[in-house]
Symmetry: C2
Subunit: 140 residues, 2 copies
């Protein structure tokens, strides 16, 4: 038996949506991982895997998109606060462009999907299934 086949749709979110989202949020205001974790969750995508989030942040730091500084809060453990670097801003712009295209694509997709549904509700001619045309009468 195949392990997985075609499972439930489970999202259909853009690829790399995590990086893109993190760049946006950090671009709005510097923040630390745990904070971003909650912000991301409230942004429409519930429950994000913390591991993936922290990993994404470190990769982006390694690549010079964001910078981090440790902040020793009086309450709770120390936190890493991330800020957007110039390269990160460039990337944010690039991502926004790509996502705008993706957004347009989804609009097309959904309108064509709606057209199919519409067509099913108002068949153009000869509804082969039921209600044959002509006056009702005893079956010949």
């Amino acid at each position: 038996m195949p392990t997985h086949t075609t499972d439930e749709p489970q999202g259909g979110l853009p690829r790399n949506y995590l990086r893109a989202t993190l760049l946006l949020l950090i671009g709005e205001a510097p923040a630390h991982g745990y904070d971003l974790l909650e912000q991301v969750a409230q942004l429409g995508l519930g429950k994000v895997d913390p591991g993936g989030l922290y990993r994404a942040l470190r990769v982006m730091e390694r690549d010079g998109l964001v910078g981090s500084t440790w902040e020793h809060s009086s309450a709770g453990p120390a936190r890493r606060t991330y800020t957007l670097l110039p390269d990160g801003t460039d990337w944010l712009h690039a991502w926004a462009g790509a996502l705008r295209e993706s957004h347009r694509y989804l609009s097309i997709y959904l309108s064509r999907y709606d057209a199919i549904i519409e067509r099913q509700n108002h068949p153009p001619v000869a509804p082969v299934e039921n209600v044959p045309p002509g006056p009702p009468g005893p079956t010949p």
Copy 2:
């Protein structure tokens, strides 16, 4: 040197966009692979890898989403024509729902991005960078 780091955005298309798109197109009208290859390309996503497309079709057939029949055309090699099966229709609906959410998410993302850009053009107060407050005078 790391092999890949954070490369160019390269799309940001939804995950599984290929299956979703194929289901939609086959739902509109039965078609064969090569045909779908061109339709998909014209749908906004240029140049799709044929291998992946054919593979996706076979997986979906294996999972009972689509059915196929060989058609021996008089001109050119035989072609496999795919039609949507009931399970495929269910999936199409599910995908459309997921993609609609994704579409909404992208709307939010883009409007927040635009807000950032806007904010950069019209800083709310005290543009920390230049133009210090106080009467202008000769540089000390």
